[in-house]
């Protein structure tokens, strides 16, 4: 390495010569959009792929937003018409099947990349002071992404979606007043499916956008927690991120064209014959084991641990028991996920 300057995370600077030259040549747009602001310094170590997982997640969310806008033009949230409108999207709408598949596969990529990002950030101990709020905003983003995945499943209005909605209502009943918004009686003038649709396309995306803005703001000003190393420009980091991201999107486009996601038959109320969207299979496994409370206790334990992490690790060195606890939870979660794939189909509601 021919550069001897060592950069501490978050310190501003001029960045690499290559990145600067490229930005200078960008000309008109660079000036008008103040792209020079992207030339702040970051450690070159942050250009490694594990540090780009958050960025890949964001790119996936952009794909989801774009495809979601298209799909929403064709979706009818009327309970009587919802399933037919999805079938219409798949079978008749121009590029409908592909856009829906792209939406589905992008959601899968986002859920995987956000999980890997969380594991990497935990491993790097990037939640210790002063980055506690960055971590907590990330946990909130995880919750929001999970909620978007769940509501998206419901909107299909097929058997799996209908059962997911029934589980949401059952969970709301278990939670009492806290779950009131998910009760069909909360707003008798409109259907629960229409309100879930509203949450999926407006409430949750708005919350997500605001939380992402906070997350990015904190990362910008508190810095990327990478090992101290030679300086690099954030613009260069962004270029690599976009480069790999666009290649990933190209692959995603082809996967979506070749592997369209399944759509079930129109939902029949009162029976359970399907399993949930695969990221929720670990919760399904818990329901098989401890009943309906599993879908509340399981996520509560995981989220409780994630929220508590910065409070439990406040010393110079990370306590060994915290790592052991995190590893145990991860193994349990992966084990439950694997069990969910092979577990027998069971009736949970009304049992």
């Amino acid at each position: 390495m021919d550069r001897t300057e060592v950069v501490e995370p978050g310190k501003a600077g001029t960045g690499s010569a290559g990145g600067e030259r490229a930005l200078e040549h960008a000309g008109w747009a660079a000036t008008r959009f103040a792209l020079g602001g992207l030339r702040y310094r970051i450690p070159a170590a942050a250009n490694r792929l594990p540090y780009m997982l958050g960025g890949f997640t964001f790119l996936g969310l952009v794909v989801l937003a774009l495809t979601g806008v298209w799909l929403d033009q064709l979706y009818n949230p009327d309970p009587l018409a919802a399933h037919a409108s999805v079938v219409y999207t798949v079978t008749r709408a121009p590029l409908g099947a592909w856009v829906r598949a792209l939406h589905y596969w992008a959601a899968c990529v986002v859920l995987v990349s956000v999980a890997l990002h969380l594991i990497h950030v935990f491993r790097r101990r990037s939640y210790v002071a002063p980055r506690e709020v960055t971590w907590w905003s990330g946990v909130l983003l995880l919750v929001l992404v999970g909620a978007l995945a769940f509501t998206g499943t419901v909107l299909r209005a097929d058997q799996e979606g209908g059962e997911a909605l029934a589980h949401a209502v059952a969970a709301a009943e278990l939670l009492g007043p806290v779950g009131a918004p998910l009760s069909p009686d909360f707003a008798p003038g409109t259907s629960l499916l229409a309100r879930i649709h509203n949450a999926h396309v407006s409430l949750l995306p708005l919350l997500l956008a605001g939380t992402i803005a906070l997350h990015f703001w904190l990362i910008r000003h508190l810095g990327i927690n990478a090992p101290a190393s030679a300086p690099a420009s954030f613009a260069e980091h962004l270029r690599r991120l976009l480069g790999y991201g666009l290649i990933g999107i190209a692959a995603l486009c082809l996967v979506a064209a070749l592997l369209p996601p399944a759509l079930g038959h129109r939902a029949v109320d009162g029976v359970e014959v399907t399993k949930p969207f695969w990221p929720f299979l670990w919760i399904y496994a818990l329901e098989n084991t401890i009943g309906l409370w599993g879908m509340i206790v399981g996520p509560a334990v995981i989220l409780g641990f994630l929220v508590a992490v910065p409070l439990l690790d406040r010393r110079a060195a990370r306590p060994a028991w915290l790592v052991a606890l995190a590893a145990a939870l991860l193994v349990a979660l992966l084990g439950a996920l694997a069990y969910g794939f092979v577990a027998p189909q069971m009736q949970h509601i009304g049992m």
């Binding site: 009587l80 037919a84 590029l95 109320d269």
Partner: protein, 193 residues
Amino acid sequence: MRQSVLVLLAAGLVIRPAEAFTHDKGVIRLGAEEVAAGAELEVRGEKLPKSTEFTLELRGALETHTLGKVTTDTLGAFVARVVVPAAAQPGAYVVRALAPDGDESARAEVRVLVAAATGASAGDHDAAHEHGEAAHAEHAASVEATAEPLDLPVRHGALGWAVILAVSAGSLVSGLALLRRARSAPGHATWTG
């Protein structure tokens, strides 16, 4: 360069687009916004070509039913009572008036509810609406639930594939170009955490 762009923009504003030859658009008014499958529905047409036979069609996202044929009077209007097929699945539909050449001349939206038990008509639509959700649940219970996916024909078509490949190729080439420019800078990406 800038002048050329301005000239092209001005030309775009001045030149009128070629007029497409289309049928005059008429109006369809329905006796009810909601109707039970198997019930009668009043359809009124106005501002249509005079003394012309039209085919009335009930078109949904998944199924299309022919409701019958009507002929407009000398004022370009018609009134007809049609029966919504009992086999029509509940959902959102469009009633379309098709000219003899198959083009749509008018349309109106209607919501088909679950078939009523006996002799419902469009006049009963309020009751049908009130009982719509319950009837839907009843209808649903009569169908066997299955975890099997629908066997849907997914065809992208030549144009669809062209768009998919163009977007894929565009993303790939853009990504590679960005990485090529980034290669010379320090800290080249690796999977080493």
